[in-house]
């Protein structure tokens, strides 16, 4: 297990593609891991304290990582625990393993995620499980659980996997969704625009786009794309 602690308050954001793979390296090697700090490429130890405890494939990010981006991007196994908040693109393109964020997550959490699990104990921001601009497919597998609230644009172009939000969510849920499932326990805004397939379940209030057809216990649409997406009450 590797424990990484910020040494200072960062002047600008840091980009650190930290994955549990690091834990398999020698501590001196880990300290030399390259991270981006503005225009400078610096070694991990220049910005963070790094300690190693045992050999399990786990990173503990101890402190405020809200200004550190790309944590866990492309990780395929092992575990990351963030003791505070985390910056944008956390868990992007993730293919396996687990990320637990004890604080809040920023935009693009689990974007284009393929497998694995992300748990956010606090709130998440926008674009959870979405596709990056120009790409056709968002999240395609795995699970994202958000204990608190989430922002706008959740699961756009999502093709598989599961997003569960225990609190409220914002606008544009499951836009152009083509598979997978989104569950929102609280309220949210617009739901289901151009949804092709998949399922959205909502506990609270929401506004469905006006192009779904009411069936027995659910709405099916979006008719604009001959969609067979299902939206129902939780």
């Amino acid at each position: 297990m590797i424990i990484i602690k910020p040494k200072t308050e960062f002047v600008v954001t840091v980009e650190a593609e930290l994955t549990p793979d690091l834990a398999e390296k020698d501590v001196e090697e880990i300290k030399k891991f390259k991270v981006y700090y503005g225009k400078d490429v610096v070694e991990l130890e220049e910005l963070f304290e790094v300690t190693k405890e045992g050999d399990d494939k786990k990173l503990v990010l101890d402190g405020d990582f809200s200004r550190v981006k790309w944590i866990g991007c492309r990780m395929s196994d092992g575990e990351i625990v963030v003791k505070g908040n985390v910056g944008a693109n956390c868990g992007a393109y993730m293919a396996g393993g687990k990320i637990v964020i004890e604080g809040d997550a920023d935009d693009w959490l689990g974007a284009e995620m393929k497998d694995g699990e992300i748990v956010v104990k606090g709130n998440a921001a926008n674009l959870v499980g979405c596709a990056y601009y120009g790409e056709a497919t968002g999240m395609s597998g795995g699970k994202i659980t958000i204990e608190g609230n989430a922002g706008n644009y959740i699961g756009e172009k999502m093709a598989g996997g599961e997003i569960e939000i225990k609190g409220n969510a914002g606008d544009f849920i499951g836009t152009e969704m083509k598979g997978g499932a989104i569950t929102i326990h609280g309220n949210c805004g617009f739901v289901g625009g151009d949804m092709k397939a998949g399922e959205i379940k909502i506990g609270g209030d929401f506004e469905l786009v006006p192009t779904f057809v009411k069936q027995e216990d659910a709405w099916v649409g979006d008719v604009n794309v001959k969609g067979e997406g299902v939206v129902r009450r939780l």
């Binding site: 002047v11 600008v12 954001t13 980009e15 981006y36 700090y37 503005g38 225009k39 400078d40 200004r67 981006k69 944008a88 935009d107 693009w108 926008n126 674009l127 601009y133 120009g134 606008d171 544009f172 836009t175 805004g189 617009f190 625009g193 151009d194 506004e207 786009v209 006006p210 192009t211 779904f212 057809v213 649409g221 979006d222 008719v223 604009n224």
Partner: protein, 420 residues
């Protein structure tokens, strides 16, 4: 006669039929906005460092130092200068590994995101004036923002097929009865924030799925929506011209993306185009130039030595709100006046370089102020009208002010020197 032809460098209409009397310093034929542009105004007198007047060379040297010493400088603005200057600005940003962003970021950039999602089925303003028998202003208000647009290109403009105002139906869709609504043939008032749903409903009606649509959507009756859908289908050549009412409100890019899908559908029946009513005279250039130079229109980060695009991370408002830059160069723009206060706050805390002809709110927070010549009046260069048509704006008045291009050329030189 001291009268010269001018091309107006105020709004995105870039009217090219203006006249300017260099003796009286007064324009003719331009609208209120254009006339104000081509009139005597208070100027920044001289280059300044921390309020003290200095030479251009000194100010530029100081600016270069700030940029080179920054970890992540933000270089923002660009919409009110010419392509030649913008190109140097992009290269400068690449060189100092900063963030390039431009005014569209708080204006029409959601339209760019919609282009990424669905494309831009459009046409030039000349195509609209010649052919459009139905024009829909959706969340746009040219009578206030582009006063001669209607007369030259869209509302009363006459062309090849449209010989008379009566041959064109003008519809305004907005949340309030704007000045443009008052000159339209029809005004459809919608509930704020419901553009997306209304467009979805229109698409369903046009594609034969009217059954799914409820009796009322976004404050508009189904009957009215069916009527609008029919008008659209029966047009010979229709145009949706959208504005900030769509890009700056709930839904933003998704509204436009949905409208583009509507246009795609309508072209299966007849001809329709969609186009943004771009604001500043060369905000199009501020996006086109970086696109050919580095691949993206705005929100571009160079910290890794190559361009990356991400509005959530690299748009000026996000960068400032997140305190994610440690210096800023502001050119041909006034973020201190036009950004939300949460973003302005950080501008007050970092070194700011300003290049602009006129004192504005950003001047009040700038450490280095470099006055520049007014493009279209004191400096020439290429600008792209809102529809991307290039026009060469002119220099009709002599000046001692340096042009943006000159300033940036020197600044780039200085930066290269310091990096060596």
């Amino acid at each position: 006669m001291a009268e010269e032809n001018i091309i107006c460098t105020f709004c995105g209409s870039v009217c090219d039929d203006g006249l300017f009397d260099t003796e009286k310093f007064k324009s003719k034929r331009l609208c209120k906005l254009g006339s104000s542009k081509f009139s005597k105004k208070e100027r920044i007198k001289a280059p300044m460092i921390d309020g003290k007047e200095v030479s251009y060379e000194e100010a530029i040297e100081k600016a270069a130092e700030i940029l080179v010493n920054a970890k992540k400088p933000l270089l923002y603005g660009w919409a009110s200068t010419v392509n030649e200057a913008i190109r140097l600005g992009v290269i400068l940003t690449e060189k100092v590994r900063g963030v390039y962003d431009q005014c569209a970021s708080v204006c029409h950039a959601p339209g760019t995101l919609a282009v990424i999602e669905e494309g831009l089925p459009g046409g030039s303003l000349g195509a609209i004036k010649n052919r459009a028998d139905v024009v829909v202003f959706w969340g746009s208000n040219p009578m206030e923002a582009h006063p001669r647009h209607g007369m030259r290109y869209s509302i009363s403009a006459k062309g090849l097929l449209i010989k008379d105002r009566k041959q064109r139906k003008v519809i305004v869709v907005d949340v309030r009865p704007t000045k443009t609504a008052k000159v339209a043939d029809e005004f459809i008032q919608i509930k704020p924030g419901y553009d997306y749903l209304i467009i979805s409903a229109l698409r369903a009606i046009i594609s034969g799925n009217a059954d799914a649509v409820p009796d009322e959507v976004g404050g508009v009756s189904k009957e009215k929506l069916v009527e609008l859908a029919e008008t659209m289908k029966n047009a010979k050549y229709g145009a949706i011209l959208y504005g900030l009412g769509v890009t700056q409100s709930r839904g933003r890019d998704r509204n436009i993306e949905n409208a583009v899908k509507l246009i795609q559908l309508l072209n299966r029946h007849t001809r329709w185009i969609i186009w943004p009513m771009r604001g500043h005279y060369n905000v199009v250039g501020a996006g086109e130039v970086p696109t050919w130079e580095v691949g993206y229109q705005y929100a571009i980060d160079f910290s890794r030595g190559y361009p990356r695009f991400s509005p959530a991370e690299f748009s000026a408002v996000e960068v400032l709100k997140r305190k994610d830059c440690d210096a800023a160069l502001v050119i041909a723009s006034d973020p201190a006046a036009h950004f939300p206060k949460a973003a302005v706050k950080h501008l007050k805390n970092i070194p700011v370089i300003q290049i602009d002809p006129f004192p504005n709110m950003t001047t009040l927070v700038a450490n280095v102020v470099i006055p520049s010549a007014v493009a279209g009046l004191e400096a020439e260069g290429t600008a792209y009208r809102m529809d991307g048509i290039p026009l060469r704006v002119k220099k009709v008045v002599e000046t001692n002010y340096w042009s943006d291009e000159q300033i940036l050329e020197k600044l780039l030189e200085k930066v290269e020197e310091l990096k060596r």
